[in-house]
């Protein structure tokens, strides 16, 4: 697979002018994001999420390690040719209208004026800003500025999107529209890396995530892998009685009855299959068996509080 975003041992150490204060914002980040992926960066404040994005864009220089965008080192401005960026708390010049803003930033991305004439109304319509096309940005609400920021990130039809809190300040309807738009872009083969504090947004949008804590990666992988509670399954079946539950317990399984189904804690997949065999031998019919998952929030809080380092699930390098 083609790595669109690739970092190796990326470090950033912020030093004060006198050199007395050192802050290690990022400590050896290894990341490989493939084409068409929506990748989420999670972490508490100061975890290194924004620093990662800034390093990828060359806004900040790495202390060690390297980073590439579409195979081009990030210190080369050409690496940003196919990148759209939505910074957190961005401030467009208030004296420009939405049209002028997109025109100026579009041309700075190398888009021809003739192309922009057609692309600007089209994008603003997609982001429900058509009526505001010739209104100065200083009159925009926070949500509208955020949507305009997204339009500016998309103006040159980039292959990679780096989004820092893309739904910040946007109402629930707008959030859903942005989510749909991002999923649509990913279906078109665009690669998206996003930071967000809204874990529900990440859960609904991203295919893979990395959790950062104090500049280190504490977990990386697919959301379903991260949220799966190891060896816990929900079983719905007929003919479940106390005798069968005792048999399950005797085999070493943890058993908990809840609202007509049972929660089974097993040693491994082989143990799970043994339990299914025991059910069938008892004359029971299995109608549902699903792995139990935690919410991403549970996983996130657990990872951040315990600081469990090195939990890497399904890492693709």
């Amino acid at each position: 697979m083609e790595h669109i975003i690739f970092t190796t041992g990326l470090c950033k150490n912020f030093r004060s002018l006198t050199g007395r204060k050192n802050v290690l914002a990022l400590d050896g980040l290894n990341l490989a994001v493939e084409r068409g992926e929506i990748f989420g960066l999670l972490g508490p404040n100061g975890a290194g999420k924004t620093t990662t994005v800034k390093l990828l864009l060359g806004l900040t220089h790495p202390t060690a390690g390297s980073a590439e965008l579409m195979g081009i080192p990030v210190n080369n401005p050409e690496s940003r040719r196919q990148v759209g960026y939505l910074p957190e708390g961005h401030r467009f010049p208030g004296y420009l209208t939405a049209r002028q803003t997109l025109s100026i930033f579009g041309r700075m991305s190398g888009v021809r004026s003739a192309t922009l004439k057609a692309r600007i109304p089209e994008l603003l319509e997609k982001l429900r800003l058509t009526e505001w096309i010739d209104v100065r940005v200083k009159k925009f609400s926070k949500g509208m500025i955020q949507r305009l920021g997204l339009a500016a990130a998309l103006i040159h039809d980039p292959q990679v999107l780096l989004l820092d809190e893309p739904t910040d300040g946007v109402d629930p309807v707008g959030r859903r529209e942005i989510r749909d738009l991002l999923l649509d872009e990913a279906h078109k083969g665009k690669t998206i890396l996003m930071n967000s504090h809204l874990l529900s947004e990440i859960e609904l949008t991203c295919s893979r995530v990395a959790v950062l804590r104090k500049g280190k990666t504490v977990a990386i992988g697919r959301i379903e892998d991260l949220t799966r509670t190891e060896s816990q399954y929900k079983m719905v079946a007929s003919q479940i009685d106390d005798r069968l539950l005792d048999v399950f317990r005797e085999s070493g399984a943890g058993v908990n009855c809840q609202n007509g189904h049972i929660l089974l804690s097993t040693r491994d997949v082989a143990h799970l299959n043994t339990l299914i065999d025991l059910l069938r031998a008892h004359g029971g019919l299995l109608s549902e068996l699903t792995p139990v998952r935690s919410s991403l929030e549970d996983v996130f809080v657990d990872l951040i509080q315990t600081g469990e380092a090195g939990k890497k699930i399904g890492v693709k390098q």
Partner: protein
């Protein structure tokens, strides 16, 4: 080229939105209108027969004043005034360009585009210089045309003065950009640029200052500072000389050589190079 055009457009839009552009051109227009309507000359056979300023007749005496000499005298003197006014207005109108670019939440939007940092900084510099040039062309061009209209004397050397003024504006703007990159403060940029303008004017008398100071070390420092800083006083004289041509006072014309231009250009280029280097290394 697209990046340069986009930056120039933004500089002009910002200047318009902040009323800088309007104030800049309104002041210039006011100046031009006063000049156009206040002075009325009565010229007979190339000699001024009578003159009125604000409708009041000016006593010409018995001496005959040739209109060519009058125009030359006026234009060379006036270009000296324009030198100071033009530089002050240009610094005031462009010093915010770098500090505003470096604001949190703004700089990310510009630097995330496929443009090198040096390219971005230089395109802002060219944008600022274009703004200053536009006003200078408007001011000097209008006065020149009014002089032609009132006196029928065409004196193209007046326009040459504008080129020297623009040269000095570029050097001062480079310094303002350097301070802007370092401090990210518009106020500090404006104040530092004005300070260096006055300080370097004082250094024009470095010979006399060096002779007056007791310590040799101080004298050498003053001499060094003189050669480092832009030659604001000398280039002011150069504007007058450029406009007056052969009619310039001999003492003034002799004092202007290539050195003030070369050292001022070196100062501007050094400031711009240092600003670019620092901007390139900055973490945002």
């Amino acid at each position: 080229m697209k990046v340069l055009c986009a930056n120039i457009e933004e500089v002009f839009r910002e200047a318009a939105a902040r009323w800088t552009l309007i104030a800049y051109f309104t002041l210039s227009t006011f100046f031009i209108l006063i000049f156009a309507f206040a002075i009325n000359l009565d010229i007979i056979d190339g000699v001024i027969a009578g003159a009125k300023i604000f409708g009041q007749a000016v006593q010409m005496g018995r001496q005959q004043v040739e209109i060519d000499s009058l125009v030359l005298g006026f234009e060379s003197g006036f270009s000296g005034v324009l030198y100071v006014v033009g530089i002050f207005l240009a610094i005031f109108a462009t010093s915010h360009l770098v500090p505003r670019l470096q604001e949190k939440g703004t700089v990310d939007l510009y630097l995330s585009r496929p443009v090198s940092r040096i390219g971005l900084l230089l395109s802002r510099f060219i944008g600022g210089l274009t703004l200053a040039s536009a006003n200078l062309v408007y001011l000097i061009g209008s006065i020149w045309l009014i002089v032609i209209w009132k006196t029928k004397v065409v004196h193209p050397r007046f326009l040459l003065g504008g080129a020297v003024i623009l040269f000095m504006i570029a050097a001062m703007m480079a310094f303002a950009f350097l301070i802007g990159v370092v401090t990210s403060s518009t106020n500090v940029s404006v104040m530092s640029s004005y300070a260096i303008f006055f300080f370097s004017s004082i250094l024009a008398a470095h010979d006399r200052i060096e002779a007056a100071v007791a310590s040799e070390w101080t004298a050498r420092t003053i001499q060094l500072l003189y050669w480092i800083f832009p030659k604001t006083a000398e280039l002011g004289q150069a504007v007058v000389v450029a406009v007056a041509g052969n009619e310039a006072p001999g003492r003034l014309a002799e004092s202007i050589g290539i050195a003030p231009f070369a050292t001022t250009a070196a100062f501007g280029l050094a400031c711009l190079a240092l600003a670019s280097w620092l901007f390139q290394r900055k973490d945002f």
